[in-house]
Amino acid sequence: MPADPPTPEPSPGRPVLTVDGLHVTVAHGRTEAVRDVSFTVRAGEAVALVGESGSGKTLTCRAVLGLLAPGVAVPAGRISLGDTELTGLDERAWRRIRGSRLGAVFQDPGSYLNPSLTVGRQLAEPLRLRLRLSRAEARRRAVDLFAAVGLHDPEAVHDRYPHELSGGMLQRVLIAIAVSGEPELLVADEATTALDTVVQAEVLELLDRLRAERGLALLLVTHDLAVVAEVSDRLLVCYAGEIVEDGPTAEVVAAPAHPYTEALLRVAPLGARGRRELAVIPGRPPEPGTAGPGCRFAPRCTYATDACTAAPVALDPVPGTHRRSVRCLRAADLALQGAAAPDRTPPRTPDREPDRTEVPA
């Protein structure tokens, strides 16, 4: 069973997105790729789904957006946006919700724009149709939105074609389009992965500002813990289709409760700049559907015991914490190492020599 959402307490905002017991299958139901995922994103809150490829984070995000590929299905679980139940919506209803209440940005902004229309038109036209604005008024709104996402000279940007803009500018255009319908939730799926370091920092700050100013709920999906360590309020660490740790970002980063989170923190580039032995996570995640009954991380875990693989491990509250849960039998007796806040973290040596552990599947 999923851990129940934490008991009501003074919370930042009303729940915007509620995912409850979500299962996603691939290969026409033959393989379970996401198992029993539950979480809530509140207004003004940034929640990050973090994990390696194959962890189920992207499928979870696509299920929330109603953008599942053929053969991929949600056999169980509920996804609600405010009071609206999203699972089981037909395509027309989905499209209405995606354009307005639900916005999304992805990794490759160029491929989501029409190359033969100016970017201003691609933002103004839907605004004009939806809000029944005049062309001049729609243009004014579009220029305002371009300014709001930090594009310099928004009037000029309005009349540019996608190929005339840099990757960072295109991502800002996409964000402007995504927030133009005043969505309650913005999903950013690896939205800064392909950007230059300087631009990535700017786009993350933009998302953070939109969250603060507009009360937008943010769902950030990424493989790179470092990217979201600073801008998310809450971390959901996914492994092999399950959430293995869930808690406030600052607490999880400072003192992880799951060995996989510890491993992710160790490989994440979090400000250590000195010459050092780079850490790796030995082995590979299991292929979907091949995991045994117990802990799915056990084969790669330094701390695993026989009990870990014998039976399913539940996502339980972390003892002595508030609003944190972990899927690990040994959580209570492990003292895992987090990332220190000051910049210069001392070099660490990995627990074992991992160079040759990657074996063919």
Binding site: E52, S53, H152, S166, G167, D196, T197, V198, V199, Q200, A201, E202, H223, D224, L225, A226, V227, A229, E230, V253, A263, L264, V267, A268, P269, L270, G271, A272, R273, G274, R275, R276, E277, L278, A279, V280, I281, R284, A339, A340, A341, P342, D343, P354, D355, R356, E358, V359, P360
Partner: protein, 338 residues
């Protein structure tokens, strides 16, 4: 100068600290321009020594890929010299250039292994191909392919697979095995880890680190991401709009940058340091102007730029081993008071 087409001899293993030896790669006054357009690279000077990892960092359009392509003869050099072990690569033409390429002493590892590896060839064919081109006898080839796969930590059982049936990290290691199978004296790796997750990224970087110790080539790693260079690079050169704006020991450049652009890069990388955002605010310009045609290439984005930044800054060496091209290098940091 011509090169023999004999199979390349292994480079003598050089310790990483062989800093006194003549550089294996030497680039002097390099200009590159496509179709008589604006220069992509201007006046680039760089050295890489045997057994050393030189990191080249820059944003999209900074010319970092062009720099690597110029070294292997794939970009139009309009001025300057590139030498590898004293041999002038820029002077090679026609038959001599083809012979030099075949010999495989300089290897280029392309950005995207999925697109640069032939999807129909097996791993062993892909890795053996540079040896076929270098006319290494078949018997020796098989042995060396196996050794190269072993060196990059790939299981021999994968040798019969095609790239489509490998993970991203495995594909990148196939590309690396292919690059080292000729035992190159110089290896250029263009964004070798940008498509990989953090664990696989570290894995490939560690391999590069070990290979330069074991095989002794000079390694140039090109990246837009400074975290791909921290930890393995010995020295870092920062490229901005086709010019080297700073160069020095990796850790010093990343933690104590001398150029405002290097400082902006370092402060932009993800970190848990709470002071970073304050730094960032001071290192950015609220509204960047269009770049000037002459003068300092970074002035249009530099919060410290003034009228005296109009002439082009020459690279100076304020401290031994550290180069910076910035008129404000002596004093900009004093304006970064927290």
């Amino acid at each position: 100068m011509t090169v023999t087409t004999e199979a390349p001899t292994p480079a003598p293993p050089a310790p990483a600290a062989a800093a006194t030896a003549a550089p294996r790669l030497r680039i002097r006054g390099l200009d590159v321009a496509y179709h008589r357009g604006e220069p992509v690279l201007s006046g680039v000077d760089l050295d890489a020594r045997a057994g050393e990892i030189l990191g080249v960092i820059g944003e999209t359009g900074s010319g970092k890929t062009t720099l690597a392509r110029a070294v292997v003869g794939l970009a139009p050099v309009t001025a300057g010299r590139i030498t590898v072990d004293g041999e002038d690569r820029t002077a090679l033409r026609g038959r001599a250039l083809r012979a030099a390429r075949r010999a495989g002493a300089v290897q280029y590892m392309f950005q995207d292994p999925l697109r640069s590896l032939d999807p129909d060839l097996t791993v062993s064919r892909l890795v053996g191909e540079p040896l076929e081109i270098a006319r290494v006898p078949a018997a020796e080839r098989a042995e060396r392919v196996a050794a190269a796969l072993d060196q990059v930590g790939l299981d021999g059982a994968l040798a019969g697979r095609t790239p489509g049936r490998l993970s991203g990290g495995q594909r990148q290691r196939v590309a690396l095995a292919r690059a080292i199978v000729t035992r190159p004296r110089l290896l250029l790796a263009d964004e070798p880890v940008s498509a990989l997750d953090a664990s696989n990224r570290n894995h490939v970087l560690r391999l590069l680190d070990r290979l330069r110790h074991d095989l002794g080539p000079a390694v140039v790693v090109i990246s837009h991401d400074l975290d791909s260079l921290a930890g393995v690079a010995d020295r870092i050169a920062v490229l901005y709009r086709g010019r080297v704006v700073e160069e020095g020991p990796a850790e010093a450049v990343l933690t104590e940058p001398l150029h405002p652009y290097s400082a902006l890069l370092a402060a932009s990388a993800p970190s848990l340091d709470p002071g970073r955002r304050a730094d960032l605010a001071l290192l950015r310009t609220p509204a960047a102007r269009p770049p000037a045609a002459s003068g300092c290439a970074f002035a249009h984005r530099c919060p410290f730029a003034g009228p005296d930044c109009a002439p082009r800054p020459a690279a100076v060496e304020p401290r031994p081993g550290r180069l910076v091209a910035c008129h404000r290098a002596p004093d900009w940091r004093s304006r970064l008071a927290r």
